[in-house]
Symmetry: C2
Subunit: 236 residues, 2 copies
């Protein structure tokens, strides 16, 4: 069998501290992340000319599931979670090689004495994700607007309205200076309904979600997600 | 350092028997290739539902250059071969992890007792290329027609007219039954001018190119590529 040892060339720093609630494709949520190049690749010359491209490809490893192995079929959330398709007909994480692929907007290329960092918008990547390749997005080869997207022809609809409890709203005000985008990010994420497809509404059921340094607690009823509290994330 | 051992899940069968003359991005040339899934992944259930997508991503290994290592900068043919950009600002082969990425048209999914094969159109892949992942192309996430393509904003122009010598034309007639697409493929490949960017026209200079089971010999002068002969490829 042919094996190829790939190494991390960069690490993602993102507000997503757990897999739950990460949007299932890039570009669905306006969120900023940082791609930090690792030595010996964190040299300005390795990214020379990259800033003239508006978007880049990140090839990354689903590092949270590396040890769990692959499954020949998966149940995509887009099919309601109760229909199986082949793993190669999906973008699911439990793949023979746990490789992910995301096109993201390149906001800035920063090179200084600390190294090389790419600021990107719209990534759907867990904090700490190892990146194995960075490539420019070439619209003439990569953009195929006429492609037929099978069971996922369009972006998923936003499905929930989002409201904040008084307690949660007060925390947002307190954190406004340090986390100016927090309220908007929470609204966008919860509107996409991060609950597993097989969960029906149960207003008693509480959900937690780790974002930046916070644990978000919310409930869902009648098409409305209510953010109950935004609490400090317990240290690991 | 984080290392991830990836394995080949499929092998490409294509008419391109050497790197020279492979188009530098997918979709530039109308050519058919086959992606043969390898055991234990060559099961119909692993590709269930894939046929409803018109295009797929192939993540593959530039296996011809694995041992040659990476270079921090490269000279893209699109910049005339005399300007350097960072390896991460290019799609060049000599990358820290020699990963390639191509969107190709999915023509057919064949599952039978011999295994699973995907027939694809437009691949820019060497015969024998190891594939490490197959994913559906999702137009809503992957197609970004407004993206700015830096130094490669559009597909390269065709640059050469192509003519066949009497000898070469006779071979095409002989091979018409076994290789009906050969003449068209040769015309498309040579029109893109596969010569290195630093080669100027020298009508005395002969070029060879391995395609299917043939060695193509051609010369270039005054914007015209002349196919001198189409000979059987010597056995390895």
């Amino acid at each position: 069998m042919q094996r190829f040892p790939f190494e991390a060339i960069a690490i993602v720093r993102s507000p997503y501290r757990e897999k739950f609630a990460i949007p299932r494709q890039p570009g669905l949520v306006d969120v900023l992340s940082t791609v930090e190049l690792l030595p010996p690749y964190n040299r300005a010359e390795a990214v020379r000319g990259l800033a003239s491209f508006s978007h880049i490809w990140l090839s990354f490893v689903f590092h949270g599931v590396v040890r769990e192995g692959w499954k020949p079929t998966v149940r995509p959330p887009r099919l309601g979670g109760n229909e199986r398709v082949g793993v190669f007909a999906s973008r699911a994480t439990h793949r023979p090689n746990p490789l992910g692929l995301s096109a993201v907007e390149l906001v800035a290329v920063e090179c200084d004495s600390a190294g090389v960092r790419l600021q990107v918008r719209g990534a759907d990547l867990l904090d700490g994700t190892p990146v194995v390749d960075i490539k420019p997005y070439l619209p003439y080869a990569d953009s195929l607007p006429e492609a037929q997207g099978g069971y996922a022809p369009q972006a998923p609809d936003t499905r929930l309205a989002v409201v904040f409890s008084e307690l949660a709203a007060a925390t947002l005000v307190q954190q406004q200076h340090s986390y100016p985008a927090l309220a908007s990010l929470i609204e966008q994420l919860l509107a996409l309904d991060p609950r597993p497809a097989y969960h029906s509404d149960d207003p008693q059921r509480g959900y937690g979600l780790a974002l930046y340094d916070f644990n978000l607690r919310f409930v869902v009823a009648d098409g409305v997600a209510t953010v109950v509290a935004i609490e400090p994330l317990a240290a690991d």
